[in-house]
């Protein structure tokens, strides 16, 4: 075939999106840092699904321009995470070239791929090789080579490009030492390969099932693998048990962790959600009796429901519901729900910060931040989430603090898209930097002075985050085993240990120097106050010349966020 028409193009895009979405979980696991929430696959999927929604809204159309616009603006606004932002720029560049044509031939496709790569490279301040950018460039170079050789049949062109792209992906570890050590290929690059693969399948005749992709009830994101896994689980565990416990007496995070641990030994697919004095439990198990027996220790039981999985009895799947990342619609709602109400009255300057956890949100609001977008490492807000916050904030100039290095690009993209208000992104890579930037904001001075001051001050803060490793790996020549505690600093792993407090303390020892005046410790949702106080005591003893401050951050995933300034 020498040309691709509008309908085929649309179908190829949708198949690409579908294939990415199907491989999301797998791509997530390619994260270099074995933190509990590798999310490249999720971010890229949500980015592309935002475009799928816009394409779907057009209905069946032969208008190439409209389809290109939908892909472009949908992915741009839905962009989450760095790989998502780059993917959106690739789409944007590609669409710019093909949008005014009703058919695509090989030379045009090669030109569009060139433009895609050019656009994406421009969007990144310091392009890094060994990433999705390299993979995209590899694809475009091969396309250019084939077009220049006079290849005109897509039947020859597409498989050759795809196979070369796979090779480039496989070479990413040679370009980026961290990938090599961790024994993975670049996750963003893998995501792009999955998009191209899906598109090729679409070219070959596979038809995208748009209805299934758009309907979360049909488990849009569930892959064959997931389905298989589900089958196995059904065989392994016969019952889905759900119930509520009205908690009595002492039930602290540690007890909660113990309960979860126990239940995981006799079942899986566990959901254990606590709200005030009620615990909502759902678990797949062969021993419902044992689960109930254990739960009785903590209070009265009610609403007990047991479904026989082997007989296919119906049950509501809380695990699916509990993961907003599983549906793009659900997720953006989740982010909107967690977003604080905008403050009243017009201001010259305002600040928007991204933070996860009640404690951190409270700290930011207390410091005068006008709008807190709920999100962080676990849930990167999209460009659109940030734009919405900008829209709701009544100020001429708005400073955005992404507080995560994987959100900075989405924030920059939001800044570029905002035409009414001036948006200045202060590239805060973590929460402590965000707090320092906020504190150094001077409402009486000009935006440019503030931008400069905030950027200077964040460069003076040293920070680290403590979490656990989800798998074995090697980073920065440090061997890490699943379950280890890791302190990840500004430029890599600071310390790896068995105990979270000891790990935090050792990390602090590497951060504190003669000029340090203040050490701040923000403890997370999974750390008890008791543990946190113990660390406070140890830090005070270790650093007699510094003030040491402890705050309840309530953040997920990270047991501690640390800073020295």
């Amino acid at each position: 075939m020498n040309t691709i028409d509008t309908q085929q193009f649309r179908n190829m895009f949708l198949c690409g999106a579908d294939n990415l979405s199907s491989n999301k979980a797998w791509i997530n696991e390619l994260n270099v840092f074995p933190v509990p929430d590798g999310d490249t696959g999720t971010n890229m999927t949500m980015t592309v699904m935002s475009a799928v929604h816009e394409v779907a809204n057009l209905g069946s159309t032969d208008d190439m321009h409209a389809i290109c616009k939908a892909i472009s603006s949908g992915s741009l606004r839905g962009a989450r995470g760095n790989s998502g932002v780059i993917l959106s720029q690739l789409f944007r560049g590609f669409c710019k070239i093909v949008r005014d044509r009703s058919e695509i031939d090989v030379p045009l496709c090669a030109a569009a791929m060139d433009k895609a790569v050019e656009t994406a490279y421009k969007a990144v301040m310091k392009p890094k090789e060994g990433t999705i950018l390299t993979v995209a460039r590899g694809a475009a170079e091969k396309a250019r080579e084939l077009a220049d050789q006079g290849v005109t049949d897509f039947d020859d062109f597409l498989p050759a490009v795809l196979s070369h792209t796979g090779e480039v992906l496989a070479s990413t570890p040679d370009l980026l030492p961290v990938l090599k050590q961790a024994g993975v290929v670049d996750s963003g690059g893998q995501g792009l390969v999955q998009v191209l693969k899906g598109a090729y399948e679409g070219y070959q005749g596979k038809t995208a099932d748009l209805a299934r992709m758009l309907n979360p009830a049909a488990k849009e994101d569930e892959t064959d693998e997931d389905a298989k896994e589900d089958e196995l689980r059904k065989l392994k565990y016969g019952y889905c048990l759900s119930f509520f416990v009205d908690l009595e007496g002492q039930f602290n995070p540690k007890t909660e962790a113990d309960v979860k641990k126990y239940m995981e030994t006799i079942g899986d697919h566990l959901v254990c959600v606590r709200t005030d004095n009620t615990l909502h439990v759902q678990v797949y198990t062969n021993d419902p009796g044992l689960v109930l027996q254990k739960a009785l220790m903590y209070g009265q039981l009610r609403g007990i429901r047991i479904a026989n999985l082997r007989l296919g009895e119906e049950h509501e799947d809380l695990a699916e519901a509990a993961q907003p990342a599983d549906s793009s619609a659900g997720a953006s709602e989740g982010a909107a729900d967690g977003t604080s109400a905008p403050s009243e009255g017009h201001k010259e300057m305002a600040i928007i910060a991204v933070a996860a956890g009640e404690g951190l949100s409270g700290i930011f609001r207390g410091l005068g931040v006008d709008h807190v977008i709920s999100g962080g490492q676990t849930m990167n807000p999209s460009t659109e989430d940030i734009l919405n916050a900008v829209d709701e904030t009544d100020a001429d100039t708005i400073f955005v603090l992404p507080n995560n290095k994987n959100i900075i690009m989405a924030a920059n993209q939001a800044a570029a898209l905002s035409d009414q208000k001036k948006v200045i992104v202060i590239p805060t890579k973590n929460v402590p930097q965000g707090i320092t930037a906020t504190i150094n904001f001077m409402p009486d001075l000009d935006p440019d002075v503030n931008e400069k001051t905030m950027e200077e001050e964040i460069s003076r803060v040293k920070s680290a985050e403590v979490t656990y490793a989800v798998r074995d790996t090697i980073i920065d020549d440090v061997t890490i085993h699943a379950g280890n505690m890791m302190a990840i600093g500004d430029s890599g792993i600071l310390y790896v240990g068995e105990d979270r407090n000891a790990t935090a303390l050792e990390a602090l020892k590497k951060m504190v120097d003669d000029t340090t005046e203040l050490v701040s410790i923000y403890y997370g949702a999974d750390t008890t106050e008791e543990d946190a106080n113990a660390l406070l005591g140890q830090a005070k003893a270790a650093f007699p010349n510094c003030d040491v401050e402890l705050q309840n951050g309530g953040q997920p995933v990270y047991y501690y966020m640390l800073s020295a300034e």
Partner: protein, 289 residues
Amino acid sequence: MGKVGIVTDSGSGIILPEAKEMGIGFVSIPFMFGDGEETFFEDINLTRAEFFQRLADGQTVHTSQPSPVDVLKVWDKCLETYDELVYIPMSSGLSGSCQSAVMLSSDYDGRVQVVNNQRISVTQRRSVEDALALAAKGWSAKQIKDKLEEVKFDSSIYIMLDTLTYLKRGGRITPAAAAIGSLLRLKPVLQIQGDKLDAFSKARTLQQGKNTMITAMKSDFEKRFNNEPMHLYCVQAECPEPFAAWKQEMTSAFPGVTIEDDKLPCVICCHIGPGALAIAASKVIPETA
């Protein structure tokens, strides 16, 4: 045109012996500690060291207006030597004493000119020095008063507090304290511009606070004072060590500008506590040269 005398109060940071040396009349602002009845005057029955010791011991301090009797006594004594006088009290935004003085002056047929130029501390002292210079050039009390009021906004003070504790303890500047309410321990940076003593920014560390003050003052130099010649001051409240470092940082931040040292008056310190550092500037009045 007769000779003009100058009178000020201890809000300027000037103390009695200094006032004598400068040849000016001096009104001391009284303090009371806790619920005590006893009235103290800086450097008269209470040394600066004793004052800060009492603060550190957790005693609350109140200031009150100088009694009209004391003010009139100083004026009358001054008018024995001079034909007329210029009275420069602390900012009307922070104390009612200026208002009272204006009222008292109405009995003097224009011989007493009360300056309401909303200054305190270093910049109030600067006004006193400017007034002396203008008087020496033969300006009348009314002319001096008008000049000082004309340039009242040509000054700026930023103060970084070591802690919020004292600001919360006192009652006078709670709006500033309230603006900096936070879960975190912060060092507030306050500003005095005209009659307002207000929150300007905040810092978590001494270094951040100093950087903030330098940035703010540089911005004032450029935008508010159009890079005209300025008197620049490095100021402290009982913290010699950080002060020495602060002076050095100011010197390198403002190359070529002469920096004078000064101390925050007890009237301010009772609200902000020891350990505060400040930067202050006042535009040079060309006519004083």
